[in-house]
Amino acid sequence: MITKRIIPCLDVRDGRVVKGTNFLGLRDVSSPVDLARYYSENGADELVFYDITASSDGRKLFTDILVETASTVFIPLTVGGGINTLADFDRVLKCGADKVSVNSGAIRNPSLIGEAAKRYGSQCVVLSVDIKRVDGTFHVFAKGGREDTGKDALEWIRFGLAEGAGELVINSIDTDGVKGGFDLPMLRAVCEIADVPVIASGGAGCAEDFVKLFQSIPGVDAGLAASIFHFGEVRIEDLKKLLASHNIPMRI
């Protein structure tokens, strides 16, 4: 049986992990390479690297650490942030990324999804969507969740799937940072229209939130989180044991 995936997300600026960590035994707590290796050895099923660098110097540092990570960590690597063109896809894929996640770049240029799917295959193209409720409907937000595009999120997702997006990352701005659990109603609405893997993001505050997520929405394939893993509040190994004890299929 296919297992549900647990995915830590690392925000990287100028080649360093932005949010500090406090893992014992890590040589350098803000080294993306060390952290990626740590997660990979401790049960992570996949890693997401999110490049929040603005400068081209920072971009170079990012691709350097990507090469180093992909040379020592042998689980799927997804890269997002600053992906606006096919050249950006090319740049990160050559450095060892397996999948590339597009967000604002696809909002600005919607044909990017289809062009990338055609060139690299759907399995390579992850559509990441930041969603927030506005007057009772789901809106797509751009620029890291700061700007309301006015687009209906479910229509945008349908469009992305038709263009060939191979996976979806659904990040609820309403629950993000609140640590009160994943946005189950939003995820349920997305799972009803999605025929590709759905990765839930935003809101995980404790291990039980993942149990609730996978138990209530069978269509969700993976749970993604950042701070609860980075701060050691939840250890991925313990989380997976807990999920397995609730009969949720896990790679232990």
Binding site: T3, F74, L93, C95, G121, Q123, A222
Partner: protein
Amino acid sequence: MTGIIDYGVGNLFSLCSSFAFIGERAIVSGDRDELSACERILLPGVGAFADAADKLRESGLDAFVLEAASSGKPLLGICLGMQLLFERSYEFGDYAGLGLLKGKIVPIPDQNHTLKIPQIGWNALHFPQDKPKGPLFRDVHEGDCVYFVHSFYATDCADSVSATTEYGIELTAAAESGNVFGTQFHPEKSGTVGLKILRSFCALG
């Protein structure tokens, strides 16, 4: 030395780094003389069957793969590279494969529309009870998970199946016949289990 065949299909970064990581020498090449000098041959591949089969033929490397196989050198096909080892594929048509393994490639069935196709993610390996475990899996345990990304799978290949996985139905996860091996999953993306499989492959030949 393992020769990884470069015929313009897929991203070979992880494959090369995984060989480097386990301390095994490997080269990526589309040159048959260079590849001929290797003790082992690896046929990678992602994308569509017809496109990959065409590229392999255009590069003239299809004949090389057949020669390598008949010379007794260990040959490993990964993902689409494994599918190419079979006789035929029915992926969006009807195409001839290399015919080194008996069987055909067909879509993963989803009669009740409950499965997501492609299968993307980690799934458990099961080993057939009625035959000894294949040499690639000597250090792998029943139920160990590996990483899959595929919409099609090999069927009518009971003789060569060396591992299966369950996704709606039982799917061929790996096959072998003599010195010819294939894995539907990606060992280079399957963590320590995958590295063990690559190490075992490097111990052959």
